[in-house]
């Protein structure tokens, strides 16, 4: 898969995650009913683990997904590193949140699980993007170069550094 496709897929998944966390944040702020088939969403959302010092974890997730989206949209080495760092840290934190749901809270929030699945996919894409790095332009090509022609038609001599390796030179 090309880097362009990896970035595009990451952006789409990050947008889906943004939508989920925005919905959870909206429900939390407005007190609207939360669509939930497991019956555990409210328990999880009302648990002390749903906040970090007063800030909803959904808000943290929203910022995280937007950060991954921005890093996926940007080209370059720093963007790749940022995307991978954000996505992998989010994956580790989401693993901890799954543990809190199952062991500490005793309830499962399907919206949170959906977010966790998206984070896993984002982490995989970020690692792939990190490994499929294109050659930086600063690396010189090793292909043999042809001597340039002067305006009077004569050839310039190749400098020692630009000469083809001895093994590809032909004897007359």
């Amino acid at each position: 898969m090309s880097e362009r496709r990896l970035r595009l897929a990451s952006q789409v998944i990050a947008l889906l995650g943004t939508a989920i966390t925005a919905y959870l944040l909206y429900v939390r702020q407005t007190g609207a009913g939360l669509a939930c088939t497991t019956g555990g969403c409210e328990t999880v959302q009302n648990s002390p683990y749903a906040e970090l010092f007063g800030m909803p974890v959904a808000a943290l997730g929203l910022v995280g997904f937007l950060g991954v989206f921005a890093a996926a949209a940007a080209p370059g080495g720093w963007a790749r590193l940022t995307q991978a760092t954000l996505a992998i840290s989010a994956l580790l934190f989401s693993a901890y949140l799954i543990y809190t749901q199952i062991v500490l809270i005793g309830a499962i929030c399907e919206w949170c699980l959906a977010g966790d699945v998206l984070i896993s996919a984002l982490a995989a894409l970020a690692i792939l993007r990190l490994r499929l790095t294109p050659l930086p332009p600063a690396i010189p090509s090793r292909a043999p170069q042809h001597p340039k022609r002067r305006p009077n038609g004569s050839r310039t001599s190749l400098s020692r550094a630009n000469r083809p390796p001895a093994r590809v030179r032909h004897k007359r």
């Binding site: 090309s2 880097e3 429900v27 007190g31 609207a32 009913g33 939360l34 669509a35 939930c36 497991t38 019956g39 555990g40 969403c41 409210e42 328990t43 009302n46 648990s47 002390p48 683990y49 906040e51 970090l52 010092f53 974890v57 943290l60 590193l81 991978a84 760092t85 954000l86 996505a87 992998i88 840290s89 989010a90 994956l91 580790l92 934190f93 901890y96 809190t100 809270i105 005793g106 309830a107 499962i108 690692i127 990190l130 490994r131 499929l132 790095t133 294109p134 050659l135």
Partner: protein, 242 residues
């Protein structure tokens, strides 16, 4: 696109940074959650440990087994709860008295307690005591008393002494007889019935609630918070449609 030789150094740096960030977040979550739980515990009234006689929230309301309120109330709310579940305790302390005053006392609502015991040994001791009290139509005083004195999960907080204190405040209930009765086979059918009802309703967490017309089909409802405004709209809607 060309694939470069895998850069182990770069990946190590990314992993180290990610682990550092995740560790900070997890530590923050633990500290934050612990602080919130301590606040909740501090907010729980500890004195007096047991409501004085005559001031029980259920005083003057008819009880039949696990049901609180008039059997002819148009609406029934079934609560599925574990007596060790902290969120069940919070709901019982904050919201149940409001519902009792607003709907149960005027005869609009009947509340049924379907106890579950999945957290641990204290859950079982507490539930068997509550069910035994229900056989004498005093389940709700015991349930409320246990929630008011709820301790840390499986710390051995459901002691005979605590139950004795709670029961001593309930007129017509003998603590010694209740402590003996809870371990007899007489409470098992009710516990099995509640467990089967929870499975049939699709209950996956506590507290969970079913609401519907008395004697009719009950629906599992979604509560938006443990505060009264998390369930009152659903009750109002159900009453409005009748």
């Amino acid at each position: 696109m060309r694939r470069l030789p895998y850069s182990r150094h770069r990946f190590t740096v990314v992993i180290a940074a990610a682990v550092a960030i995740a560790t900070i977040l997890i530590a923050a979550s633990q500290v934050s959650a612990r602080g919130a739980e301590q606040q909740a515990t501090a907010a729980t009234p500890s004195e007096p440990r047991v409501s004085p006689p005559g001031t029980s929230f259920a005083a003057g309301i008819s009880q039949h087994g696990a049901a609180l309120g008039s059997p002819s109330a148009p609406l029934t709310l079934v609560e599925y709860a574990d007596l060790q579940c902290p969120y069940c305790g919070q709901w019982s302390r904050e919201t149940l008295p409001v519902l009792v005053d607003r709907y149960v006392r005027p005869g609009k609502l009947r509340i049924v307690f379907n106890g579950m015991a999945f957290v641990g040994p204290d859950s079982d001791r507490a539930l068997r005591t509550a069910v035994a009290a229900g056989r004498h139509d005093h389940l709700w005083e015991v349930v409320h008393g246990l929630y008011e004195n709820q301790g840390a999960e499986n710390s051995g907080w459901v002691t005979d002494e605590l139950i004795g204190e709670i029961v001593a405040r309930v007129p017509g209930l003998d603590a010694r007889a209740l402590l003996d009765e809870r371990w007899t086979d007489s409470v098992d059918p009710e516990i099995r019935r509640a467990s089967a009802a929870a499975s049939a309703a699709g209950v996956k967490s506590t507290p969970s609630f079913q609401l519907g017309p008395t004697g009719g089909r009950l629906e599992l409802i979604s509560v938006t918070s443990l505060a009264p405004d998390g369930i009152v709209p659903a009750i109002e809607r159900a009453l409005g449609t009748r």
